[in-house]
Amino acid sequence: MPKRKRKPASFTLAAALEQKERARKIRRKLSFGEKIERMERLRERLRPLKEAREVRRGKKANAPSRRVQ
């Protein structure tokens, strides 16, 4: 069976902004506890990225200077 070519998804800026506003409205309606729980989950998801950034920064700070004396 021939492989069907997937049409690349494209959005207009207006559609993206509209979607963003819709998500914002949903987030605003959440209760205090739900907002905090979402933030806790987000923080857990971001943790590996943050740790990788810290390692990168550490390496950069410890790297010998390239400047010729």
């Binding site: 205090f32 905090i36 806790e40």
Partner: protein, 182 residues
């Protein structure tokens, strides 16, 4: 591990007399009123009574150390996943914000916990005083989402001599000053 467990520990400290009174401020308190923004730490404002006049967090830290909470993340002590910053009140604005904080029931992490949360007008005034870009952005959110009572905010700003900072905030962010004389 989560906010409920963190606040349970802080409430136990209050019950056992390690701290007298506390209120949540900063970004987490703002979640009660506006769309949430990512934050790492939980700001806990508290009043510490000291006979000598010197304010020390030692009793709090040694209490928590005794319960196994020893890890620091940035300026906060990690309690059940949250880096908690204990901020002793330092001026009349802090004091008023602490005194007028409201008790709120928080349903999270499969349970319910009660904590005192600062009012929006005080959160805006405190953010204005700190004045970092993210604080100014948060003030903008309070205004855009109509989450702050402008009359009450004005009184807070007047009482704590923050009108000039407010005018500067309006100028920097290109907003018209709602308190400007017409």
């Amino acid at each position: 591990m989560g906010i409920k467990q963190t606040l349970d520990v802080i409430n136990a400290m209050e019950k056992e007399g390690v701290i007298t009174c506390y209120a949540i401020g900063g970004a987490v308190a703002a979640y009660n009123y506006i769309e949430p923004a990512v934050t790492e730490d939980l700001d806990v404002f508290l009043s510490i009574e000291s006979a000598s006049g010197l304010i020390s967090l030692d009793p709090i830290l040694s209490y928590l150390r005794g319960r196994g909470y020893k890890e620091f993340r940035k300026e906060g002590l990690v309690i059940e996943g949250w880096a908690v910053q204990f901020l002793p009140i330092s001026d009349t604005l802090d004091q008023e914000a602490l005194e007028r904080a409201r008790p709120v029931d928080i349903r999270a992490n499969g349970g319910r916990v009660r904590a005192r949360v600062m009012r929006p007008e005080h959160l805006v005034a405190l953010a204005l005083r700190v004045g970092r870009p993210k604080d100014l952005q948060r003030i903008g959110q309070f205004l855009d989402e109509k989450a702050v009572n402008l009359g009450q905010l004005r009184s807070v700003l007047d009482r704590h001599q923050l009108q000039q900072s407010w005018r500067s905030f309006c100028r920097k962010t290109g907003r018209s000053n709602p308190f400007a004389a017409k």
